[in-house]
Each structure stands twice: as structure tokens, then as C-alpha cells.
């Protein structure tokens, strides 16, 4: 009687906590349950409690995951302050990746910064080289600007020369027309058809 009572309670709990409890309507399954001993039933109840605990833990993890998701969404929207978190996560991932790649050269149980110095060396020369490169590029830019201005000034001279030549041609044509009109000779074509 006690066994049946416990089984009934177990069946009700299982039915109320899972939609899959409908499988207990299967006569074969129901018969198998009825054949269980009290010890087996206790074990199943313990398993059920563990599963409930697992679901609770999963819910907490899911809540944490949603928090991370919200952080990721805010980060994608460019909220200030979150970039630091993303950078730090990237740093940790980079560290793991680098350590895996150079595992033979790095001992994580010892001081890491000094080991990084051994692996990567000092980066000061590179930073100094970039400063030198910027200085040289700036000098080159100034030279290019001066060259462009020189070319521009020569082009202005060309324009002035062209205007002067055009004036000479116009004057020559006027002189030619006057001479033709004074001698009653038919006017010839322009003396200087081209202006350049």
C-alpha cells in the first residue's frame, strides 16, 4: 500500500513537471513503474530532484548568458565603457591563443610579463621607427607641395604667354585689315590663323 502511494505521488509529480509525463499512460510503462521497488522509486525521486537542480542552474546560466548578450548588444551599439570589457576579453582570448602557439617558450606558472619581453622583445625601436617614418613622410609632403606650386607657377606663365600671343595675333590681323583697306586689295585670310 505504501509502495503504491509513493508511486502515485511520483507519478503525479512527474506528470505535473513534464509534458512528457503522458508516456506513463502507456500500459507497458505503467506496469514497469508498478514493478519498481521502493528503493528504485527513491532513486528516481533523487534523480528528479537533481534534474530540477540542474534546470535551476541552467536558468541561472541562461540569465547570465542573457546578461552577456545584452552587454554584447550594447557594445555593438557603441555604449561607452563596454569597449574596455570587449578589449579585455579579446586580450584573454589572444593570450590563450598565443600561449597555445608558443607553449614551449612560455611557462604560465612563472612571471609572464618578463617572458613576453623574451618572446616579443622590446618594441621601442618600432615605435621610434614610426616617428622617423612620419617625419620623412612630412618632409616628402612638403617637397611635393612645393613641386606642385612650381608646376602651377609655370602653368600661369604659359597662360600669360598664351594671352600675349593672342593679343599679338589680334593686333597683326588688325594691321593686315587696315593695309588691305588702304590699298583696296581684297582681304586675305588671317595673317596668323593660329594663336600659339
Amino acid at each position: 500500500m505504501k509502495k503504491i502511494f509513493i508511486l502515485t505521488i511520483f507519478g503525479l509529480i512527474a506528470f505535473s513537471n513534464s509534458a512528457k509525463a503522458a508516456v506513463f499512460t502507456d500500459p507497458a510503462v505503467l506496469a514497469a513503474i508498478l514493478q519498481q521497488t521502493a528503493t528504485q522509486t527513491t532513486e528516481h525521486l533523487n534523480q528528479l530532484a537533481q534534474e530540477i537542480q540542474a534546470v535551476t542552474t541552467l536558468e541561472q546560466q541562461l540569465s547570465s548568458t542573457q546578461g552577456i548578450l545584452q552587454l554584447a548588444q550594447l557594445n555593438a551599439q557603441g555604449v561607452d565603457g563596454l569597449q574596455v570589457i570587449a578589449n579585455f576579453e579579446n586580450t584573454i582570448l589572444s593570450a590563450n591563443s598565443v600561449i597555445q602557439a608558443i607553449q614551449s617558450d612560455i611557462n604560465t606558472s612563472q612571471n609572464l610579463p618578463s617572458q613576453w619581453q623574451t618572446v616579443f622583445g622590446s618594441l621601442s625601436p618600432y615605435i621610434q621607427n614610426t616617428s622617423t617614418a612620419f617625419t620623412n613622410i612630412d618632409a616628402s609632403d612638403k617637397l611635393n607641395t612645393a613641386s606642385y606650386l612650381v608646376g602651377d607657377s609655370y602653368q600661369k606663365l604659359y597662360d600669360q604667354n598664351t594671352a600675349t600671343v593672342a593679343q599679338f595675333v589680334a593686333s597683326a590681323n588688325q594691321v593686315n585689315e587696315k593695309r588691305c583697306s588702304q590699298t583696296n586689295r581684297p582681304r586675305n585670310s588671317r595673317a596668323y590663323p593660329n594663336g600659339k
Binding site: 584573454i92 610579463p113 615605435i127 611635393n144 609655370y154 604659359y158
Partner: protein, 55 residues
């Protein structure tokens, strides 16, 4: 004739100046990229210590 040559030379000089400036712009971008990479590695070396893996 000399005027035309002057014009062509001035155009050539201006064109080369612009191309050289564009090359300098590319060099600047490459230099900035190298600088950022060096700075990133430097920051990495400063940040990542043994405590990082306990996070």
C-alpha cells in the same frame, strides 16, 4: 613651341607631385597600422599576467 613644352612640363610636375602625395598617404596608413600593432602588442604584454587566467 617652348610655351607648349613649358605647359607639358608643368603638368607633368604637378601630376607627379599628386601621385607622390598619394603614395605618402598610403605610407602613412601603413605606418599607422604598424604603430597600432606595436602598441597593441605592448598593451598585451603589460596586461596579460598570471592573474589574467584566473578571471
Amino acid at each position: 613651341m617652348e610655351n607648349n613644352v613649358t605647359y607639358l612640363l608643368s603638368q607633368s610636375l604637378k601630376g607627379e607631385s599628386i601621385e607622390s602625395s598619394n603614395d605618402n598617404l598610403k605610407r602613412k596608413e601603413q605606418t599607422i597600422q604598424i604603430q597600432d600593432e606595436s602598441q597593441g602588442v605592448s598593451d598585451f604584454m603589460g596586461i596579460v599576467d598570471n592573474n589574467t587566467f584566473n578571471v
